[in-house]
Each structure stands twice: as structure tokens, then as C-alpha cells.
């Protein structure tokens, strides 16, 4: 039986997203040479949220945000069933600063695949990683996020579930564990 524990509720999630936006602005100023790429399938919701909030704060309408599917670059092909999603990057990433966005950083394998997948669209100047939840004890690869919403200590058998108002009815992050 999975027992849920709430890590972030709707209010805290909003505060966290706002803080991440200001951290981004601190480094990337007006986003004139920076683009946002959300990883499919679950990172795109956070990317869209951050994109919307940045446009509000900066009063700009032209910040670039795309989605990237990593399915064809994964290393667990044939070990489990993979379902590809849409990739939509309608801008050039050559020479740009890229902020890669995902909801949970766990083993780091999705990010590894994401870095490979991104290179098919050009050579970025600089790539940074932003995640909402960092499960810091579960890494399989030497990958770290520069911007983190919340760091949690969890074991591999536990699951982190990030839900969004747009698709799941409410904003919240829960930790599910076998008791």
C-alpha cells in the first residue's frame, strides 16, 4: 500500500515557482539570449508555468519555450515500454543559453537523454538544469541541477508524484512510500 505524504501544496508550489523565476532573472536578465526547454512528458507543465510567470514579471511576450522528447535517446529501450511524445522546438538553440526543465531529478538518465536529444537542434552556448524536486540520494549519473525547487531525501522504492492543475486538477507534490 502506497502511503502519500504531501511535500508541496498548491500555495508552496506557487511560491517555489516564483522563487525559481527570480533566480533565473538574476542570471539571465531579460532572456534575450536564453531559451527554455521542457522535457516530455512531465517537465513541460513546469516549463510552461515558469515561462508564463517570467513573461508576467518581465512584461515580455517573446521569451522562447519549447518541448523536447527524449524517447529515441533513452538507454532503457527494450527494458520497458516507451511511448514517444511531441517535440516542438521552433527556434534556434545554436549559441543560446538553454535552461532545461524537468519536474523530478531522480537517476539523471532522462537528463542525459535530454542533453543528447537537444544536440540534434544545434550547439548551445551554455546549458543549465532546473528541476522542481531533486531526489539527491538516487543519482546514477554525475548530473546536478543548478536551480532546485525542493531537495528531498528518498529511497528508490518511494515515488514522487507531481500534479498540475491543468491535467490533474490540483497543484501538489506528494511522496508515495510502501509502509
Amino acid at each position: 500500500m502506497m502511503k502519500p505524504r504531501i511535500i508541496l501544496d498548491s500555495k508552496h508550489l506557487d511560491i517555489t515557482v516564483t522563487r525559481l523565476c527570480y533566480q533565473l532573472i538574476e542570471i539571465h536578465n531579460d532572456f534575450s539570449n536564453t531559451v527554455i526547454i521542457g522535457l516530455q512528458p512531465r517537465g513541460i507543465y513546469l516549463a510552461t508555468r515558469i515561462h508564463k510567470k517570467l513573461q508576467e514579471i518581465l512584461k515580455k511576450k517573446d521569451i522562447k519555450c519549447g518541448s523536447l522528447d527524449t524517447t529515441f535517446y533513452r538507454d532503457d529501450f527494450r527494458q520497458k515500454e516507451l511511448v514517444p511524445n511531441k517535440t516542438n522546438i521552433d527556434f534556434i538553440i545554436e549559441g543560446k543559453n538553454v535552461i532545461m526543465v524537468d519536474d523530478v531529478l531522480f537517476t539523471g538518465r532522462t537528463i542525459r537523454a535530454g542533453l543528447d536529444a537537444m544536440l540534434a537542434f544545434g550547439r548551445p552556448n551554455d546549458v543549465e538544469l532546473l528541476v522542481l524536486i531533486d531526489r539527491r540520494l538516487s543519482r546514477h549519473l554525475p548530473i546536478q541541477a543548478k536551480y532546485v525547487g525542493k531537495t528531498i531525501d528518498s529511497i528508490a522504492s518511494e515515488k514522487v508524484k507531481v500534479e498540475w492543475k491543468e491535467t490533474d486538477g490540483a497543484d501538489k507534490v506528494t511522496l508515495l512510500s510502501n509502509d
Partner: protein
């Protein structure tokens, strides 16, 4: 549904409607991939594929090879014209020798119907049928369905006419199975001598008047007259065939609605279709070729992904 119900792709007859939808949906992702600046993904980097062509082919062979290379698979090619088949080696011996070199998948075209099914029962590799005689050509039917969907939104409920040499065409049979499974209404049109005897039993409409067929349909798939498979004369002359069953601009423009024109290639310009029709805005012949690579990538990816 995230995996195919079959281990091989031997014919459309073995696929479920869900399988076809899964292939077409996956092909959409690959169509995006092949339009990127870098068109290659590493999914099949640990897979070796043998392309065995016991019959001539340009499009299908190139299309499969491109699809395999864009998925990063290792590819070996074989064509019977330059091989030991000429020295009397059997099909199973040839293929087993190739498999001894550790090949994971086999793409095969063969002049004999059932060759792919036969092979799948005797060897341990995933088989993709790239055309077996006048039986089936599954990837062609899949790419045709993908192209129709892309052009007019869906296949379900649409009226599709297949015109020409139905008797000798593997494309016709695979298309009939595929389009019917996707919910389309299918008509075949051609001279009585080029119509299989029990074609009615497949649940298709049969028409012998080209104009009537074109007035009825949303999409016309014009097939080539397969002279190489015709050991006797099925009609008096090519000129007469063209007059009765050839699609020209005049006929196309005189129809009450704008229909979509398809052709699986190779085209015999001026026989089943005139140049101005083949190159017109209503023709999606080159889209079919582009989509062929995406659809074949989807088939390879989904079959290779099955444990």
C-alpha cells in the same frame, strides 16, 4: 496500447486496428525527427538489420535503408542478382548464413507469396515483409494510410478507390486490409481480366468504369500495370488500357469535387496516370515517399522495442 501485438510484420492481415493506430502515431514523431537539422536518433544502435531483396526495388529498399540508418542500426544489404542464390542456394540456407553473422532483424522482399511467413517459422529473427509476390506489402499500406490521414485528416469514413491491376498487386491487398481496419470504404476499379475472382468476399465495392469510381471516391490510388507478372495478355494493348483506365488532367478536372491522387510508384507516366496529374497539386505521390521513411522507422522502432 504501447506495443504491437505481433513479433513480425508479415502482413496487414495479422495486425489489429490498435496496432495500425500505434504505428501511425509513432510515425508522426519520426516525421518530426526526419525534418530536424540532424535527422538521426540512436534508438537502434545495438541492432543489426539485413535487407534481403530477392526482387528488384528502388523506393522500398532505399526507404528501409534510410529508416534503418536514421535509427542508427547497422545495415547489411543483399540482392539476389549478385549472390549465391544464382548458384542454387535455398532461401533458408541463405538466411541462416546471414543470421549466423548475428543479425537481429530481417527485411525481405521476395517474388513468392508467403515467403516472409515461411521464413518467420524457420528462423529466429524479427521479420519485416517488404513485399512477397502478389500477396502483401504492409509498409506501403501503412504509409498510404498515414499520407491519407495527413492530407485529409482521417481515414475513417473516407471513400478510397484503388484503380488498376488489382490481380497482380500486393499494394492493393494490403491497402484493402489496412483501410478497412481503419474504417474506410474501399472500392477497386479495373478491367474484369485484372480483377481477382473472389474480390467481393473482401467486402469491397467493384467498379469497371473509371469515371464512376472517381466520382464516388475522396482518394484515388492509381496502381501500375505489373507487366513483369503478366505471363499472358490481360488486355489488348496498353493504349486501350490508358484510354479506359488512365487518369488524365481533363478527367480529373471534370469531376464534381477535388479528389486526392496517390500512386505507390514506380509510375509509368502516360499509362495509368499522365504527367500533369502526377505533378499536380492534388497528387501526394512525393509526400507518400517522404512518409515512407517515417512509417518504416516507426515499424522498426516498435518491433525492435518488443522484448
Amino acid at each position: 496500447m504501447t506495443t504491437l501485438s505481433t513479433k513480425h510484420l508479415l502482413g496487414i492481415k495479422d495486425l489489429t486496428a490498435d496496432d495500425i493506430h500505434l504505428i501511425l502515431k509513432t510515425a508522426e514523431n519520426f516525421k518530426e525527427v526526419i525534418n530536424r537539422p540532424i535527422k538521426k536518433v540512436p534508438s537502434l544502435r545495438d541492432i543489426t538489420i539485413a535487407n534481403l531483396f530477392f526482387e528488384n526495388s528502388t523506393r522500398t529498399k532505399l526507404s528501409f535503408e534510410l529508416a534503418e540508418k536514421r535509427l542508427s542500426a547497422d545495415v547489411v544489404n543483399f540482392s539476389s542478382a549478385s549472390s549465391s542464390v544464382k548458384k542454387g542456394e535455398t532461401l533458408i540456407d541463405t538466411v541462416n548464413n546471414i543470421l549466423a553473422m548475428k543479425v537481429d532483424m530481417v527485411v525481405m522482399r521476395h517474388p513468392n507469396p508467403g515467403a516472409a511467413v515461411f521464413l518467420s517459422k524457420h528462423i529466429d529473427a524479427k521479420i519485416i515483409n517488404a513485399g512477397d509476390g502478389a500477396h502483401e506489402h504492409p509498409t506501403q499500406a501503412l504509409l498510404d494510410a498515414f499520407s491519407i490521414k495527413e492530407k485529409i485528416g482521417s481515414v475513417k469514413g473516407k471513400k478510397i478507390a484503388i484503380v488498376g491491376d488489382i490481380l497482380h498487386s500486393r499494394v492493393a491487398l494490403s491497402n484493402i486490409f489496412c483501410l478497412q481496419k481503419l474504417g474506410a470504404d474501399v472500392m477497386v476499379c479495373g478491367p474484369t481480366t485484372l480483377m481477382p475472382k473472389y474480390i467481393h468476399s473482401l467486402g469491397v465495392k467493384v467498379e469497371h468504369n473509371l469515371r464512376k469510381a472517381l466520382e464516388w471516391c475522396d482518394v484515388a490510388n492509381m496502381l501500375r500495370i505489373q507487366l513483369e507478372r503478366q505471363d499472358i495478355k490481360f488486355f489488348p494493348s496498353l493504349r486501350e488500357y490508358t484510354m479506359l483506365f488512365g487518369l488524365n488532367k481533363e478527367l480529373l478536372d471534370s469531376l464534381s469535387k477535388k479528389i486526392v491522387v496517390m500512386h505507390p510508384g514506380p509510375i509509368n507516366r502516360g499509362v495509368e496516370i499522365t504527367s500533369d496529374v502526377a505533378d499536380s497539386a492534388q497528387s501526394i505521390i512525393l509526400d507518400q515517399v517522404e512518409n515512407g521513411v517515417a512509417v518504416r522507422m516507426a515499424v522498426l522502432f516498435l518491433l525492435a522495442g518488443r522484448a
